[in-house]
Symmetry: C2
Subunit: 194 residues, 2 copies
């Protein structure tokens, strides 16, 4: 069940999350695996190839969310919820992906559209097509809530020996989603000076 290839992926995910992609060496992975670096190259063509193996799944999920967004125009709550779940599923990866330029470039390189444009699509979906600048800012705010708070909530609940409970507490999910929606909400014109 746990082929060597899968063990490598597990180890790499952990190390990448802890030390970053560039900060992790093939030797680190091999050491953790209990072999030499040469053995790794039997299973993967390159270091980047390992990263690709790690990114495959979450990237597919992400693209599927985008797709559904073009067809169905889901409600903001649904869309934000999908991103919370994505962040949960691939939480170690979120940490790496987010702002490592090396990885961003790699992703862009094997993506139909630039990741920047994809993000823009999400923002537009959240803010609405006829959104003014302020609405766009609020959409980014809501997105920020989802990304940041989800990781934070898991960091609190996860690491300690809470047994098999590993993901996000459902109550936290509700809390995060509510906060994101409040951030997104248009407060309307200033109250008191009509």
């Amino acid at each position: 069940m746990s082929s060597t290839k899968e063990r490598i992926l597990v180890i790499a995910r952990e190390l990448f999350a802890r030390q970053g992609y560039t900060g992790t060496t093939i030797a680190d992975i091999a050491g953790e695996l209990g072999t030499t670096t040469a053995a790794l190259y039997y299973h993967f063509d390159s270091k980047a190839d390992i990263l690709r193996g790690l990114l495959e799944q979450p990237m597919a999920v992400y693209l599927r969310i985008l797709e559904g967004l073009r067809e169905a125009r889901p409600a903001a709550e649904e869309l934000l919820g999908a991103f919370v779940d994505l962040a949960v599923e691939s939480r170690e990866l979120s940490v790496i992906i987010d702002r490592d330029p090396t990885i961003l470039a790699m992703i862009d390189e094997q993506l139909p559209t630039s990741s920047e444009d994809l993000t823009k699509e999400v923002i537009i979906a959240l803010a609405g097509p006829d959104a003014d600048h302020a609405a766009v800012v609020r959409a980014h705010a809501a997105f920020g809530v989802v990304k940041h708070a989800t990781l934070a909530a898991m960091a609190h609940a996860g690491p300690p020996q809470n047994g098999p409970r590993d993901g996000l507490d459902p109550a936290d999910r509700v809390e995060i989603l509510a906060a994101a929606l409040r951030a997104l909400a248009d407060p309307g014109p200033a109250r008191g000076q009509p």
Copy 2:
């Protein structure tokens, strides 16, 4: 006014923001500067030394915010506003600092307290000392709004040739702060089922 040392810092800040710290080589900086790598070492002892020079100011600001937080217990709005301003002042740096483990380690290494503990202090200040778990999650949400939306708002307004206007649109600052406060607000018990 623009000594070579200062020019190096400007160049480094730009390149670090664009390519990351580890992704930028001394040769990159020297090339942009118009000299050889050896010349750099007349002005700085090491690559890390350049980063330190860049981090000095914003780190001092950050620590000062923390200090004021221990003495005065500022309102959430004031505290969040201070972080918006910090993000604006050091926006290129925020991108690097945030999730490059190399840099996080370097910062921790020359900080009185671990940066993790410092963040915890901020969260407690936002959530209140008697906060329950949900309030902590909301505090992280508000923090996420500030960090994410501020960078996003500047990315929109900055790069195009908007002339000398370089920072954050005051209207955006208001919008971001309001969104963060909404995210932070306790919605109270569910409405409708008393």
